[in-house]
Subunit: 419 residues, 2 copies
């Protein structure tokens, strides 16, 4: 860009601006006046353009200086695109091909031009539509294992890990969104909260009166704020995954931070479980979505299984960091095995706690999920939502007691509302 002063772009102004960037012009091909731009941002924060050139189509994502969902009354720094750019670079390195390739990053314009995944759709919508994606668990389970392991002191040189900790500790305002909207506001009567009313009123009141629950959530919040274990995606829900047939890709890591490994896993599994909870709301006749719901539960199960396999493989082959060094715990001897199992158990317990919190905030807080919102009958929607709310409470309070995903699936079925 010639100008360095930030200017939000429009489909009309974008082509001429992009034409000034040789890398982008070359990839798009042809002349700028032939490029077709449309704004497709349906997320909560940014402008997102699809730019179709003569030879290639690209995504151009530009941060706005405020929260798009709320408006200019909630300012949000442009610097989030800087964190997204750095997170994308690290994810690309740690799990090549799973995130969009960055073509160009313009820091003053808070703009990232990147690979367009086509004809991919957002996983959340695909799950609502009842579609299946065979390698979903494989792709996301491996992505989580690789990015979480390779960004930590288990693998990175300590100096590099500390430099990245410094870098991402600057992502203050986006962390604040998680700290407030996920861990705090849902648990009291905050202004921005909303829920399906009056159907959920009494359940919501009982959750907000449950001191044991609220205490556990605050312990989880402290874990989120202080346990800087690895670079997290930070917002890894089904709206941050794109799918086409058997292929899954991960987008939108602007919430990236150093935090506990279980957070990404918990948030992602939670969104699968909520998708499963919502299925009866999308059935045209009783039982129509039961099989799809069970498939989603299986995906959750398989994702965790893949995670364990890949994390264990990396533990054996790439444990080059300062933690659990071979000089002390050996390699795959009993001590190393015990250490690995201890870490996996901790990650799992944390993940379940974070999963429960994510369920609550998506139903009680500011940002809601389409799989529930799209259910037009409020009674039916409330039924699905209360299934998720109670499951969430069970996960938070009982997180040390669920030995695996099957145990969660069993609880899911026990809590299933009568048809």
């Amino acid at each position: 860009m010639v100008t360095t002063e930030y200017q939000p772009l429009t489909p009309e102004t974008l082509p001429d601006r992009l034409a000034e960037i040789p890398d982008i012009a070359r990839q798009l091909g042809g002349e700028a006046h032939q490029w077709h731009c449309r704004e497709v941002g349906d997320g909560n924060l940014n402008l997102v353009f699809i730019v179709e050139g003569a030879t290639k189509t690209l995504i151009v994502k530009q941060a706005l200086p405020y929260v798009r969902l709320v408006g200019e009354s909630w300012p949000l720094p442009l610097k989030r695109s800087y964190f997204e750019y750095h997170a994308l670079c690290r994810q690309q390195q740690r799990d090549p091909g799973r995130v969009p390739e960055v073509i160009h990053f313009d820091e003053p314009q808070a703009l990232i031009a990147m690979e367009f995944f086509s004809p991919h759709v957002i996983l959340r919508q695909s799950l609502i539509n009842g579609a299946r994606h065979q390698d979903l668990a494989l792709h996301i389970g491996r992505f989580m294992a690789r990015t979480l392991f390779r960004g930590s002191d288990l693998c990175l040189p300590a100096k590099e890990r500390k430099a990245d900790l410094q870098l991402f500790a600057g992502n203050v305002e986006l962390c604040d969104i998680t700290e407030s909207l996920v861990f705090t506001e849902p648990y009291f009567d905050a202004d921005q909260n909303r829920h399906t009313t009056p159907q959920l009123d009494s359940l919501v009141a009982s959750l907000r009166a449950d001191e044991t629950l609220k205490l556990q959530v605050q312990h989880l919040k402290m874990d989120f704020c202080t346990r800087a274990e690895t670079m997290l995606h930070g917002d890894l829900h089904t709206g941050s995954v794109m799918v086409h047939e058997d292929n899954a890709r991960v987008i939108d890591p602007e919430f990236a931070l150093y935090g506990p490994m279980g957070f990404d896993i918990g948030m992602y599994l939670s969104n699968l479980w909520m998708a499963a909870c919502s299925q009866i709301g999308h059935a045209n006749r009783p039982g129509e979505r039961d099989e799809h719901r069970n498939w989603i539960l299986d995906v959750a199960n398989d994702t965790w299984t893949v995670f364990i396999q890949e994390f264990s493989r990396l533990w054996d082959t790439e444990r080059l960091g300062i933690l659990y060094p071979e000089t002390v715990v050996g390699n795959r001897a009993s001590a190393s095995e015990l250490a690995l199992n201890h870490r996996l158990k901790t990650i799992w317990r944390d993940a379940l706690g974070f999963a429960g919190v994510e369920m609550h905030r998506r139903i009680l807080g500011l940002a809601h999920n389409a799989e529930f919102e799209d259910i037009s009958d409020p009674d039916l929607r409330a039924q699905c939502e209360s299934h998720a709310l109670t499951l969430g409470r069970d996960l938070i309070l009982g997180r040390a007691g669920f030995s695996n995903v099957d145990a969660v699936s069993r609880r899911f079925h026990q809590r299933l509302p009568a048809a």
Copy 2:
């Protein structure tokens, strides 16, 4: 300083250099040629000068570009004085008067001119000498509560806490010393290790063969590396405390980092317990030091009690950060009380684990303690050291089971070698 190129100073060159700094010259008073300088650094890392002027005496501490204890073969960045300066400023703010006042900081020269505590002596030496200091527990217990609470997300605005996290995450090389020398090398046959031999050989071999122990230590190391709860002193042992009569002061925070609250507490209590273990080695006749030993154990007890009191007071009056907000857990209602107790229990359990590790590394690793080293009879020294080693193992493995300091004192007495 006129020159900005780093130059290590000597008692001969120091006065002329200090005369160039108005703040210092004014405090010292008189003419530079009248100032008396001597180098007194008996620590492991730096040059330390006492500069006596006409009206006042100051300490001038200058970092060397290597580890003094080892020599030029072990380079260490000068930047550690930058971290010490920033830590001193924060400690001064969080517990006024407990650390030396900084008169002048010269970053290129890695030099801090600061208040001289006189006629204070190092606590470690005072405990060897058999002296008592009435308010020791009060001063250090409060110092720990105030600095640990006020540097955390319990109190600081989140943005400020993250900025400090960034700042201190740059203290890579000094963290590396702790990561390596405290948590790793003592547990295998590392080159720099030494211990009283042959008396301790079999005990040392059994500790290094104990996979359960080594695993727990690696879990503690992961806690140290990842749990960025607050700004720690980072090296709070009895050599970092100065005492005179009833007054105690804290010095040398160059190891400052964001880490788990229990680390400072554990390291400090551990050094008191080691001082207690060493007392029979300093007795001229059997039983001569029993009373002093029990006094030291009482100080450990009282320090933790003071810590709890002060931390609880701050919890009620200064919990202004994002953790455990009043909107969710109330204030001093049952949920807040439960939250506080949970945090204190976690800090205590962590502290005992870190205390055990500190005992091991001071007897098996590179840096040893004067209270053991000064015992000239190797059999007697080994007896004291094995008392500490076994107590350390008990603390690491049983850290969840000691309900308070009394329980540790009981274990101390059970493990006491026969006179």
